[in-house]
């Protein structure tokens, strides 16, 4: 039998993806396209929040949406019907997250010439999407009231990489033991820079604040 040979590799599993993501971010910067990576648990109200937000912003920005799910195209169809903006559906083929390469493939299938803002609705999951940089200009997440105010403690990485945390379903807060002040405190412990915006995508309360935040973020990024 041949003697065992050891080949040293010493390489992070995320290294290639981090490089792809940096390259994509650079490319989008040149094209002037702001990519928002929106993450959350399944059922937190990402799609409903997006529909409200897009309807507030579609006269001010040229927007396109990329939906990522393990299967089905219900979200992409819903967005297109409710807002009239272009949306495409990506399937991750069982994968729990989207990486930079998949994001690029998605973008290649979109009309990108006249777009200011692409919103990527990532797979519903608070763990894996946080580890894989998509090449986005900005990371946002939605936490909904029924999930509980302790989630920033349980999923610290997700909360530490987000520029903004939207707290959705505020309309049902009276029925849950959700403490918004505690939630803000826990988010600040993980990420002092994160903005926290309470909303109800159902009633529309607070959605304007999120839309304004996003509009500002896109404007500031374009000026940089």
């Amino acid at each position: 039998m041949d003697p065992v040979r050891v080949i040293e590799i010493k390489k992070s599993v995320f290294e290639d993806n981090d490089k792809d993501a940096a390259a994509l971010r650079n490319e989008l910067r040149h094209k002037g396209i702001f990519l928002l990576n929106l993450m959350s648990s399944p059922g937190s109200g990402k799609t409903t929040t997006l529909i409200r937000t897009i309807n507030l912003l579609k006269d001010k920005l040229r927007i396109a949406v990329m939906e990522a799910d393990i299967d089905s195209d219900v979200d992409a169809v819903k967005i297109k019907e409710a807002t009239g903006i272009p949306s495409i559906q990506l399937h991750t083929g069982g994968m729990c997250h989207l990486d930079a390469e998949m994001t690029r493939q998605g973008l290649d299938n979109m009309p990108m010439d006249d777009v200011d803002l692409v919103i990527l609705e990532n797979v519903g999951n608070l763990v894996c999407p946080a580890e894989f940089d998509t090449g986005s200009s900005c990371n946002a997440m939605i936490l909904s009231v029924p999930e509980g105010h302790d989630k920033p403690l349980k999923y610290p990485l997700m909360f530490s990489i987000c520029d903004v945390v939207v707290v959705n379903k505020m309309d049902v807060q009276p029925y849950f033991d959700f403490d918004l002040d505690k939630c803000k405190e826990y988010i600040r412990m993980r990420n002092p820079k994160a903005q926290v915006i309470p909303i109800s995508a159902k009633t529309g309360e607070g959605v304007e604040a999120f839309a304004s935040w996003l509009l500002e973020a896109v404007k500031n990024w374009k000026q940089r």
Binding site: R5, I9, S12, M95, E131
Partner: protein
Amino acid sequence: MHELGIVFYIIRDVKKAAEENGVSHVNAVVMNIGEVSTIVPDYLTDCWRWAADKEDMLRGCELRIHTIPAVTHCDGCGGEYATVEHGRTCPLCGSENTWLLRGNEVEIKEIEV
């Protein structure tokens, strides 16, 4: 919960390294996994067995995990302490101004061929 996805990345990198070194079969892959990397070692080895056996180059290849203990540095007192035991608050001075020094690794250390 994302161990299978991670396994696909490991397979891609290992195959690339093996090809670059003109190797046709890999006997073992050694990983450095940090204690707070969110990887569950048992899930990773289970997913590995399933996925690696589908690749000619990696059939029967063993995945060995080398755990890196997590250590946090405290800016309050300059001390270092075990992250898993004490979390983000420094047990030496009570400061919350702390950051992870190591323990977040998901790294391919070496391969045996």
